[in-house]
Symmetry: C2
């Protein structure tokens, strides 16, 4: 059995029970109860295991689904969990517990938080990642940015999520030039940042693009599971390439913009991406230009670290809102094991990218030292 909890908008408990029972049938037999053979009802229809009030006008329904209904594939697991039911308003998938038989078939993170940290060679503070942008620059111009950032000592440099395979900076040329620029800057400073190119495009070419990046010395990849499909993440993580994956939330917006439907933030942006193979998960931080609350962001970070079969923890990668004044609050909310994504907030510190990277890193170090001093005092 696997267990899923849904928040259901309902008039009262009887209404909630009827809706939860509908859900059990909708996601499995997809026939009205009286048209389902009894042997099937007992063995393959979801079962309502618990129903509890969950705030005004809502109930939490814990449903058990036979593991066989999920079949061997991630795609059918997702379909079983939310395929049809989220087409109806008032149902929100909130929690998930999978048996070992299903966990064992999912790749999970390749390196996890500790492996990602080891790659960046930083252990004592959150990692800092900045982004090559804006879209429209040539591969050569982006490589110049990368060189300046690498000289500034930043830990990771990612493609902006909008850099795909456009004619201005085609994937192969960009990856080649940027990695070269970072490598040569790294040779000069003695420390080479991790470049994280965005692997996107036709699904039948993702593996080839990832392999090309690896052949050029790239050590980590970014993917947009909301655009490419969650199964693309699984496929890349299971491919044996060995490059950790930073999952970006583009395209997943519709799952989290409604409080009464979709999927809870920590489940879609934390647990499901982690199961599918993310080593780090990007999400818009509270205090930034998106509307995520601090509680939602903390819940995502918790889902990155909560026990999940034998899978390692992954890095929450909050983006946006990382101004100097807010770094202390970020550190408090996300802990040390996080990857800070900073674009505009970093560039704003200085017109020169090398200097702005140095300044931002100094701010992060300062917060860390302040905490250490504080803990020594207390």
């Amino acid at each position: 059995m696997l267990f899923a909890t849904y928040r259901i908008q309902a008039r009262d408990e009887a209404d909630a029970r009827a809706l939860a029972t509908d859900l059990c049938y909708e996601q499995t037999a997809e026939l009205p109860p009286d048209l389902v053979p009894p042997g099937i009802v007992d063995r393959y229809v979801g079962r309502l295991l618990a129903l509890q009030p969950a705030g005004t006008g809502a109930f939490a329904a814990r449903i058990g689904f036979p593991a066989d209904c999920a079949g061997p594939d991630l795609a059918q697991l997702l379909n079983l969990l939310y395929g049809n039911i989220l087409l109806k308003p008032g149902f929100r998938l909130e929690q998930l517990e999978l048996p070992a038989s299903i966990l064992g078939r999912l790749p999970g993170p390749q390196l996890g938080a500790a492996g990602f940290r080891a790659l960046a060679g930083i252990d004592h503070r959150p990692l800092v990642c900045t982004a090559l942008k804006p879209m429209g620059l040539t591969a050569k111009e982006l490589a110049e940015q990368a060189r300046a950032m690498a000289l500034g000592g930043v830990d990771c440099i990612k493609d902006d999520h909008g850099l795909a395979d456009q004619p201005m900076a085609p994937f192969a040329e960009r990856v080649e030039r940027v990695q070269e620029a970072i490598d040569s800057a790294g040779a000069a400073t003695g420390r080479t940042p991790v470049y994280i190119p965005n692997v996107s495009g036709p699904q039948e070419r993702l593996a080839e693009r990832a392999a090309f990046a690896k052949s050029r010395g790239v050590k980590a990849l970014m993917l947009l599971p909301g655009i490419q499909g969650l199964d693309s993440l699984r496929s890349l993580a299971a491919s044996g390439l060995g490059l950790p994956i930073l999952a970006h939330p583009a395209g997943l917006g519709p799952f989290v913009t409604s409080a009464t439907s979709g999927i809870a933030h920590p489940l879609i942006l934390g647990t499901l991406l982690r199961l599918a193979g993310a080593d780090a998960t990007v999400f818009p931080s509270f205090g930034g230009r998106f509307g995520f609350s601090e509680a939602e962001c903390r819940a995502i970070a918790e889902a990155c670290r909560a026990p999940l079969g034998a899978f390692p923890a992954i890095l929450p990668a909050p983006g946006g809102g990382m101004t100097a004044e807010r770094l202390s609050a970020m550190r408090e909310a996300y802990g040390r094991d996080a990857l800070y994504l900073v674009g505009g907030g970093l560039r704003r510190l200085d017109p020169d990218l090398t200097t702005s990277c140095r300044k931002f890193l100094a701010l992060v170090e300062e917060v860390e030292q302040g905490r250490e001093a504080g803990s020594r005092r207390s």
Copy 2:
């Protein structure tokens, strides 16, 4: 340029203008305006072309994006249209106009509505499709259902969308047995229904599964783009296999459950699927167990037929609510060029599946004849 219209929740026109401008930057440069080089702003940042009131507290913003921002791939086109912006509440993508340069790179439907009809050999009324279910039956039991349905003369028989590759009825065995059963029934009646198996699972195996189905005589395929990714649909449509594709909406629910965010019904369930290669698009009909309104359903059907580059029209495939009493209203709303999906509503007509198929087809014919008689009288 490509043009996209978003419905934006805003206090007033000035607020709407600011939000629309944010959108232009968010989806392209992803930097605050003052940090974007002027040459890039002019050439690669989205442009607000028109802003109009669109109901209480909302404005319709027409944005022009340079075609190069979409790059050569469907994935980046989707990312450009809604990647980050739908993570913010109050933005809904409603309309899309693509230039020939982008349309020419998308596969579009392989056969379209007329080709699908020709496959089924029915021209004078809506096509009728029923589904093999429930999940839990063996491949042999599903094949017996298929035989009974084929003897009843139904036009198409699809897998239920929850039939994947579960141990109860694994994909290969199911496809083989069901197609055999339908072929043998067809040999007896003189007319072989179109079997539409659900192609799902690991993305790297979709092409192989589709090819296997074709090798067993299958003439059409079903795919869940909301689960497998819209690019999986594109990939399958562009693969050269030549089997038309029925797109099922499982997993697309979060895009359409909020009136103030996500993507408008006709755009996500009509236009985008048609561009990506669907020949028919399933959606929950008004009057059924899902909450789609008649206006939303009619708009989806219109998007199936509206001019779209050189692409043929596709079949709207409304499901649910197809009871005898409602067939007339369905015919009125969807027209003749539609594919009716009927599961429970058909089975309810008779315990014997052959008889229930005959009865349902007779009802559809009756509505058609009633309309003809009506139009002769008028």
